[in-house]
Amino acid sequence: MKKGSTVFLQVVILLIGIVALAIMIRFPLTEGRAVNLDLFSIYADPFIIYGYLVSIPFFVALYQAFKLLGYIGQNKVFSLNSVKALRNIKYCAIILGILIMTTVLYITIFHAKDDDPAGFIATGTLATFISAVIATAAAVFEKTLQSAVDIKSENDLVV
């Protein structure tokens, strides 16, 4: 296995993580109502905190993908470890999807009357959809990989 491509993808994952983190830290400061608040009350807003909590599964999944690429680079991809990493990614995507969907429902029902959160709802629905796609893709990969691992362990027993 050539090492270059896994390292490249690992760098991409790192970049995605850093960009996501930077946006998450920067965004509350640009919010209109944050102008008159001190730093503490900006970040102590319940919704902002909820946003940070929701992001945890996202970063866990990124870390698992990073680990998975590491296994591939070490030629250990057909192992139970990588199946487990894929399973964790699947669970993270499911949790993330459910949390985002809950948020969208909450905002849809309880938003202020003169507010129009159409953009938020569209983005949130799209994010839920993407999470579902990633969860299924991870599940398919997991199944395929599991079958390969089974074959390999059979092999190792025979030899």
Binding site: M1, K2, S5, T6, F8, L9, V12, I72, V77, F78, A132, V133, T136, A137, A139, V140, K143, T144, S147, A148, I151, K152, E154, N155, V158, V159
Partner: protein
């Protein structure tokens, strides 16, 4: 292999394809026209740009079709086979084509962003150029993995 999970993915691929098709038919001509009305100094680049964008769309549809084929191979338990390796190879090449054409389009994005005084436009253009490249690397990696898996499997078939 459960059929339901790849069915969902196939449906997603089809939906994405339809959305991009709609964008190609209704969106692209309008966007390109407006962009070149805005930077009218480069009007002679209008048709090459439009053709380039349609080339990337064609490559995209080709890659989507290969993805559909790959998913059906997974359904038939043929994931570790020469067929799926071929499909991944084609996905890799079409992603590289898309990346290359978007890179060629970068000067136009650059002029547009410059005239609009919106440096964010360049970043978005670079993301468009880089994302297919990441997909290409990923497809290449999967291709190698499948080759590995195929070797393991054929070893198995020989011993049994």
């Amino acid at each position: 292999m459960r059929k339901s999970s790849t069915f969902f993915l196939r449906a997603v691929v089809v939906v994405i394809g339809l959305a991009v098709l709609a964008l190609c038919i209704f969106g692209l001509p309008v966007i390109v026209r407006e962009v070149f009305e805005y930077i009218s100094d480069f009007a002679y680049l209008k048709f090459p740009t439009l053709i380039g964008l349609y080339i990337t769309a064609a490559a995209f549809f080709f890659a989507l079709y290969q993805a559909l084929k790959l998913l059906s191979y997974i359904d038939e338990n043929l994931a570790f086979s020469e067929l799926s390796i071929q499909a991944l190879k084609k996905i890799k090449y079409s992603a590289l084509v898309m990346s290359g054409v978007y890179l060629l389009n970068m000067p136009i994005v650059f002029f547009l962003a410059d005239k609009d005084d919106a440096p964010g436009g360049i970043i978005i253009g670079m993301v468009f150029a880089c994302a297919p490249f990441v997909v290409a690397v990923f497809a290449g990696l999967l291709e190698k993995l499948l080759k590995n898996g195929m070797e393991i499997k054929s070893e198995n078939d020989l011993t049994v």
